[in-house]
Amino acid sequence: MDDKLSFFKDGIRLDGRRPGELRPVKIEAGVLERADGSCYIEMGGNKVIAAVYGPREVHPRHLQKVTRAIVRYRYNMASFSVEERKRPGPDRRSHEVSKVSREALEPVILTHYFPRSVIDVFVEVLQADAGTRTAGINAASVALADAGVPMKSLVSSCAAGKVDGQIILDPMKDEDNFGEGDMPLAMTPDGEVTLLQADGRFTVEEMREAMETARKGCEQIYEIQKKALIDRYSRLEDPKEEGSGV
């Protein structure tokens, strides 16, 4: 890509956002019938659905832990979710994303309530823009709450990036592909970081600025997550809204 490409015009990003602005976020809890908890999220062009099953019995049994539940997290991209069709099944990237995403949620799940069991989190990326792992964590966090899994708090996640030497919030595809750095972060409402990755090139000062920027994004997402759960509970209390399925 041409090095002279500018990511800003009059301080405004290519998609019309200011540097510290999130893409539109839409979250809906309780979208699946079979799963114990579920959540659908749109973050910009990302469309991601998460489901939670459990706590339930562990198979194979030798994976059981006697003092707590284990958490499994499977991040998966639908074949048609990306520009060039993706072969179905996990690749090295999705294995890594699953690992860091699981570790982003484990700190808040009260796993010791459920010894010898498993809590399964499944995340399907239906359409991918930049930031699918953070969208997945946001959805998974709400799906866990929807499933009634006891948690210390929600986890909220978004990335900061660096383009044209400037720190931005929530990079979209072009900013991610052609920018200078990407730093996904997940955190609890009280500021504990549960996921942190970075690639690209940041000075130590830029790294700090990126983290502060991402933190602000997480705070906004946290509010949207809470609202989705409140909406979900209202629907549950008012059965007329629940559709014909019940």
């Binding site: 489901a51 074949s79 520009e83």
Partner: protein, 259 residues
């Protein structure tokens, strides 16, 4: 699918309902659950459709890319159909490559598209013997509340009917709509307690354990048929099911796929 547990009590309950000419959700025996169909839902796909059949949800994406033809049909496009029964959709689905249920589902959808000749594969040739358009039909089950077969089949043909061949992206001229010549529709019936029920939900599927899926074309021909599940069917019931299926397929085609 190994743990498709259903208590005997639930099965008895369904049986007693049938004796009273009823189904658990109040439908008549040949009535489908509410169907909703939305196309163009995935921008990254060249065609897509989200189907809701009651609480069952299926997403189908079609991707069209240039690639090599098969050596035994060098001048024809290629259709590859795949179904992912991801563990998000049911406690009975497990991660990993498609098992026999996923394979059967994909192959049935594929046969419907192929045997109805709905896609003109000759029109998908780019350079004979070298480059043709490859249609990937990817079925993603989101919520399995029964009869994912009919939902997948409906989603597949709807996605194809709204798909565009992305020629421009590959420097091959302007994009053009994928030509679809026939509209195969799959309908599934189970026999349980002596009656035939269309569009079984999860409990009915489990209780009945044998289904017959019939795929019919716009002119009322049968272009695919498959008995599924470990139980027998009499020839008379097969004939009755085919008649029911033709009629239901016609209704679905007219209501949702009328071009």
């Amino acid at each position: 699918m190994s743990n498709n547990v259903m208590s005997e009590i639930r099965k008895d309950y369904l049986y007693h309902l049938v004796m009273n000419n009823e189904r658990a959700d109040g439908r008549s025996f040949d009535q489908y659950r509410e169907i909703s169909l939305e196309t163009g839902v995935i921008k990254k796909a060249d065609g897509s459709a989200r189907v809701r059949l009651g609480n069952t949800q299926v997403l189908v994406g079609v991707k069209i890319q240039p690639g090599e033809p098969y050596s035994d049909s060098p001048d024809r496009g290629v259709i590859i159909t795949n179904a992912e029964l991801v563990p998000l959709a049911s406690p009975n689905f497990e991660p990993g490559p498609p098992n026999e249920h996923g394979i059967e589902l994909a192959r049935l959808v594929d046969r419907g598209v192929r045997e109805s000749k709905s896609i003109d594969l000759d029109a998908l040739c780019i350079t004979p013997g070298q480059k043709v358009w490859i249609l990937f039909i990817d079925i993603h089950i989101l919520d399995d509340c029964g009869n994912i077969m009919d939902a997948s089949s409906l989603g597949a043909i709807a996605a194809l009917m709204t798909a565009k061949v992305p020629a421009e992206q590959y420097g091959l001229g302007e994009d053009w709509p994928l030509p679809v010549r026939d509209i195969p529709v799959a309908t599934t019936v189970v026999e349980f307690g002596g009656v035939l029920m269309s569009d079984p939900d999860t409990d009915e599927e489990t209780a009945a354990d044998t289904k017959l899926t019939v795929i019919t074309t716009a002119d009322g021909s049968v272009c695919g048929m498959q008995k599924r599940g470990p139980g027998p069917l009499s020839m008379d019931n097969i004939y009755r099911i085919v008649d029911i299926s033709c009629e239901k397929a016609k209704e679905i085609r007219e209501k949702f796929l009328d071009v």
